[in-house]
C-alpha cells in the first residue's frame, strides 16, 4: 500500500507542475498577443506614452494658477511638503496602475467581443481567470514602461529630488497596491460580461477612486465620509506610503498599519474579484448573453 502511494505521489506532483506550466504558457501567450496587437497600431501605441503628461499638466497648471508659484505653505502645514509639483507628481504617477486595472483589464473582454474572438478564447482549455491574468501581466509591463518614462521626464524637467533610500520600500508598497488593484480589474472584467458597456463601469469606478484617493491633496481635506471610504482603497495606502518613502510626507497612519491594511485589502479584493468574475461568467452563459452586444 505504502509503495503504491509513493509511486502515485510524483505523478500527482507532475500533473500539478504540468498544469501550472500550461497556465503560465497561456498567460504569457496572452501577454505576447496583446503586445503584437498594440504594435500593429503604432500611432496609438506611441500616444499612450504621452497621455499621462496630458492629464498631469492640468494639475500643475491649475496649482500654479492658484498659488502664483510652485510652493504652498498650507500644503506644508498639512503634509510636511511644500512643493506642489513633487507632491502631485508622485500621487499621479502611481495612480497610473488604476488605469491598468479599470481600463486594460476591464476592456480586455469587450475588445475580444468586438474582434469576434470572445467565444473562441472562452472555449480554450484553460480557466477564464488565466485570460485575465495574461491581460494583467501585459498591462503591468506596459504601464510600468509608461511610468518609467514619465518619472524620468518629470523629475528631470522639474528638478524633483527623491529620497533614493526609500526606493525599495516604495516598490514593496506599490506591489501590494498593484495586487489589490488586480482584484478591481477582475471585478470590472466580470461585470463587463453581464453589463456589456464596460467603459461606463470602468470610468465610474476610476472617477470615484480618483476623487477619494489623495493624489493631489492629503486625506485631511476630504470630508469625513470620503476619508472613511478612502480607507478601503489600496490606492490610498499605496500613494501615501510611496510619498512618505520618496518625499518624506508625514504619515497619518503608521507604516506597519499601512502594510497590514494593504495586505488585508489585497486578499479581500482578489477574492471578491474572482467571485464576481466567476458568478458573472456563469450568469452570462446561463442567460446565453455571452455573444450579445
Amino acid at each position: 500500500m505504502n509503495t503504491m502511494r509513493e509511486e502515485r505521489q510524483p505523478t500527482r506532483l507532475w500533473r500539478v507542475k504540468d498544469r501550472v506550466f500550461h497556465y503560465l504558457r497561456a498567460i504569457n501567450a496572452e501577454n505576447i498577443k496583446e503586445w503584437r496587437i498594440e504594435l500593429k497600431y503604432k500611432p496609438d501605441f506611441i500616444r499612450q506614452f504621452f497621455e499621462p503628461f496630458v492629464y498631469l499638466f492640468p494639475y500643475f497648471l491649475y496649482g500654479f494658477a492658484l498659488l502664483g508659484g510652485r510652493y504652498s505653505e498650507h500644503l506644508r502645514s498639512l503634509t510636511g511638503i511644500s512643493d506642489m509639483i513633487a507632491y502631485t507628481f508622485i500621487g499621479y504617477l502611481f495612480i497610473g496602475f488604476l488605469n491598468t486595472a479599470c481600463w486594460a483589464m476591464g476592456f480586455s473582454l469587450r475588445k475580444e467581443q468586438w474582434f469576434g474572438t470572445l467565444e473562441t478564447i472562452f472555449v480554450a482549455p484553460v480557466p477564464r481567470w488565466v485570460y485575465v491574468a495574461g491581460m494583467a501581466l501585459h498591462s503591468t509591463c506596459h504601464q510600468g514602461l509608461i511610468m518609467l518614462i514619465q518619472a524620468v521626464v518629470i523629475t528631470t524637467f522639474f528638478a524633483i529630488v527623491l529620497q533614493t533610500s526609500g526606493l525599495f520600500l516604495s516598490l514593496v508598497v506599490v506591489l501590494l497596491m498593484l495586487l489589490g488593484l488586480y482584484g478591481l480589474g477582475i471585478i470590472v472584467a466580470g461585470l463587463t460580461i453581464a453589463l456589456k458597456q464596460w467603459w461606463v463601469v470602468s470610468e465610474a469606478l476610476a472617477t470615484l477612486i480618483v476623487v477619494v484617493t489623495p493624489i493631489a491633496y492629503p486625506l485631511a481635506v476630504l470630508p469625513f465620509v470620503l476619508r472613511k471610504v478612502s480607507m478601503f482603497l489600496p490606492t490610498t495606502y499605496g500613494i501615501i506610503g510611496v510619498r512618505h518613502f520618496l518625499l518624506g510626507e508625514e504619515l497619518v497612519v503608521g507604516l506597519p498599519t499601512i502594510i497590514l491594511r494593504l495586505s488585508i485589502i489585497l486578499v479581500v479584493w482578489l477574492t471578491f474579484g474572482m467571485l464576481v468574475f466567476l458568478i458573472m461568467d456563469r450568469f452570462g452563459r446561463k442567460r446565453g448573453s455571452l455573444s450579445i452586444y
Binding site: K40, Y41, P43, D44, F45, I46, R47, F50, E51, V54, F57, P58, Y59, L61, Y62, G63, F64, A65, L66, L67, G68, G69, S72, H74, L75, L78, M84, T88, W114, L195, K196, Q197, V200, E203, A204, T207, L208, V210, V211, I215, A216, Y217, P218, A220, V221, L222, Y293
Partner: protein
C-alpha cells in the same frame, strides 16, 4: 432631411439600450471638478485665490472650473463621439450598409452631428440646473439668449473638428491616437480647468481654439466677468465659417478615397 432624422432616431435608440451611459454623462463632468476643489483647498486653505483672480478675473475658482467642466461636455462629444461614430459602425458590422445606402454619406455624418449636439445640450442643461439648485449658481432670464447664442457658435465650430475626426477614422481605422490628440490639444490649451494665461505656451495656442472664446464669453455671462461680447462672437463666427466647410471637404475627400481604394471594410 429624413436621413438626418432617421440617423438621430437610430442613435437615440442605441443610446437608450444602455441607460447607464446617460446617467454617467450627466454626472461625470461634475465629478471631475471635485478633485480640483480638494486640490484648491489643500494648496490655499480657502475657496478663493488672489493669484487666480489676477489671471481669471474671479477669485472664486470653484464656479470657474465647474463651468469649464460643463462646457467641456461639448468637446468630448464633438471629438470623441463624432470621431468614433463611424468606427462604432465598423464594430457593429453596419458601416458598409450605411455607406452604400442611396444617400450622400455627408447627410449621415450631419445626422450624427445633430444627434451629438442635441444630446450634449440636454446634458449641459441638466448639469446647469444641478448647479443652479444645488450650488446656487444664478442665471437671469436676460442672459439665457446670449448663453444659447454662444453655445450654438461653439457647437458649430466643434462639430467642424468632429467631422474631420470622423473622416480620419475612416482612413486610419484604429484612430484612437489621432482622436485623443485632438482631444488633448483642446483639453490642455483651452481654459477648461485653469486660465490659459498661466503659461505663455497655453496662452498662444488657445487663440486658435473655438472653445477658448466660448468659455470666456460663457464665464463672463454666468460669473459677471468683464469680456468683449462682440469680439468673441465675431471670432467664433469666423472660426465656424472656416471650419465647417473644411471639415466637410476633408470628410468628402477621405470617404471617396477609402471607397476608391476598397479599404472601407478593413479593420
Amino acid at each position: 432631411m429624413w436621413v438626418i432624422v432617421e440617423e438621430v432616431r437610430k442613435s437615440f435608440a442605441i443610446l437608450f439600450a444602455y441607460p447607464v451611459e446617460v446617467v454617467f454623462w450627466i454626472f461625470s463632468p461634475l465629478l471631475w471638478v471635485i478633485p480640483l476643489v480638494f486640490q484648491g483647498k489643500a494648496l490655499i486653505g480657502a475657496f478663493s485665490s488672489t493669484p487666480f483672480g489676477a489671471l481669471a478675473g474671479t477669485d472664486e475658482f470653484i464656479p470657474y472650473v465647474l463651468i469649464g467642466a460643463i462646457i467641456s461636455t461639448y468637446m468630448f462629444s464633438a471629438v470623441w463621439s463624432m470621431g468614433n461614430s463611424f468606427r462604432d459602425e465598423t464594430y457593429y458590422g453596419t458601416l458598409e450598409h450605411i455607406l452604400s445606402a442611396p444617400v450622400r454619406p455627408v447627410y449621415i455624418l450631419v445626422g450624427k452631428g445633430v444627434y451629438n449636439s442635441v444630446l450634449s445640450t440636454l446634458f449641459v442643461i441638466v448639469q446647469l440646473l444641478i448647479c443652479v439648485f444645488i450650488f446656487g449658481l444664478e442665471i437671469t432670464l436676460a442672459k439665457i439668449f446670449p448663453i444659447f447664442l454662444f453655445l450654438l457658435l461653439l457647437i458649430v465650430g466643434l462639430y467642424g473638428i468632429g467631422f474631420m475626426a470622423a473622416a480620419v477614422t475612416l482612413l486610419i481605422k484604429e484612430s484612437h491616437g489621432i482622436i485623443h490628440l485632438f482631444e488633448y490639444v483642446l483639453f490642455l490649451f483651452s481654459p477648461i480647468r485653469y486660465p490659459v494665461e498661466v503659461n505663455p505656451i497655453t496662452k498662444t495656442i488657445s487663440v486658435f481654439i473655438p472653445l477658448t472664446y466660448a468659455l470666456i464669453a460663457l464665464r463672463g455671462l454666468l460669473l459677471n466677468i468683464d469680456f468683449n461680447f462682440w469680439k468673441n462672437s465675431v471670432i467664433l463666427l469666423g472660426i465656424d465659417c472656416a471650419i465647417i466647410p473644411l471639415g466637410l471637404f476633408i470628410f468628402y475627400k477621405i470617404e471617396k478615397r477609402t471607397k476608391t481604394r476598397g479599404t472601407l471594410a478593413d479593420y
